[in-house]
Amino acid sequence: MVLQGVLLVLVAVGGATVVLVRDPLRQAIVAGVFGLLLGVLFFAFQAPDVALSQIVVGSVALPAMIILALAKLAQLRGSDE
């Protein structure tokens, strides 16, 4: 019970942090940590399947795609100038 309350507050703080970090590259890493926090919250809600999904997707697949897209954007901008 206490664990769920603490995790919910941490998730709220994490969500605000993800939004307030403006640089996309740093935001990708913060989003990975937010995904992990969400996964632990889902685990505390007695939902192991959902937690597994969230950890795998939110900490591996999503930050990887974001960083790849940013690399391509940096390359495009570099060749324009």
Binding site: D49, V56, V57, A61, L68, A69
Partner: protein, 255 residues
């Protein structure tokens, strides 16, 4: 509209929206007081009827299998859309040099040795773990969606710890596309098998077996495997499309 107007509109609309949301959510039963009849019915019926102890898996692939078919095709369409968007356009030439194997490249190493060693050690266990999670979807938490992404992350690891050339040899594009399309089609074919067996689409027509063993729960393991292949194929495809993008137009951004 300009930025200030947009910001002003947001600060006016957000409190109203938030108030309406909170008002609506207050009408729900208290947190922890679950009254729904559907969930109670499912948990009583899943083990005797489908011989699987994993009620969530039985719900995803059997009782609500049609929703999962829709979700799987959303995934398929999103991967397809990304491939179409990132295709090589007129005026962009592919950097042919990067594709060939230069002996000098093998000497020049940007990644640290620790990363390469760890990556090499982890790729095998990741593939095994991915297949384990997919195939045991009807016994333990897991299933096609989770296991598919774990399987795809093994390919991400090959890129991070190795070179792009190794990734290309290990993951030929036609194989990835065939896997993804095969997974999506496999789901529909298993569902049609239910129709051919004389009943409705996605009817569980295979023998049910002993609950708790690997070959049980009828068609649920088959659906898990097809979804797992499709998800793995889609994520590897998306990842590769972004990587190919980076190769187009040369190494302007640095190797």
């Amino acid at each position: 509209m300009s930025r200030r107007v947009r910001g002003g509109l947001f600060w006016v609309a957000a409190p109203v929206f938030g108030f309406l949301l909170v008002w609506g959510l207050l009408g729900l039963p208290d947190f922890g007081d679950y009254r729904g009849p559907y969930g109670d019915l499912l948990q009583q019926v899943a083990l005797p009827e489908r011989h699987t102890p994993q009620v969530v898996g039985a719900t995803t692939f059997d009782y609500r299998g049609f929703d999962t078919l829709g979700e799987e095709f959303i995934l398929f369409a999103a991967a397809l859309g990304a491939v179409v968007l990132l295709r090589q356009q007129r005026g962009e030439e592919k950097d042919e040099e990067e594709e060939q194997d230069h002996p000098a490249d093998r000497q020049r190493r940007d990644t640290s040795d620790a990363l390469r060693l760890l990556g090499l050690g982890l790729v095998g266990p990741l593939v095994v773990l991915g297949f384990y999670v997919i195939v045991h979807g009807h016994l333990t938490p897991g299933g096609g969606f989770q296991g598919g992404v774990v399987l795809a992350s093994a390919f991400v690891l090959v890129h991070v710890a190795g070179r792009y050339l190794i990734l290309q040899r290990v993951r030929p594009m036609p194989l990835v596309e065939i896997t993804e399309a095969g997974g999506a089609a496999g789901f529909v074919l298993v569902g049609l098998g239910g129709m051919i067996a004389g009943s409705t689409f996605l009817f569980n027509f295979l023998p049910l077996g002993e609950p708790g063993t690997l070959l049980s729960a009828g068609m649920i393991p088959l659906l898990n495997i097809s979804v797992g292949l499709e998800v793995a194929g889609a994520v590897v495809l998306l990842f590769s499309e972004f990587l190919e993008q980076w190769l187009l137009r040369g190494r302007g951004g640095g190797a």
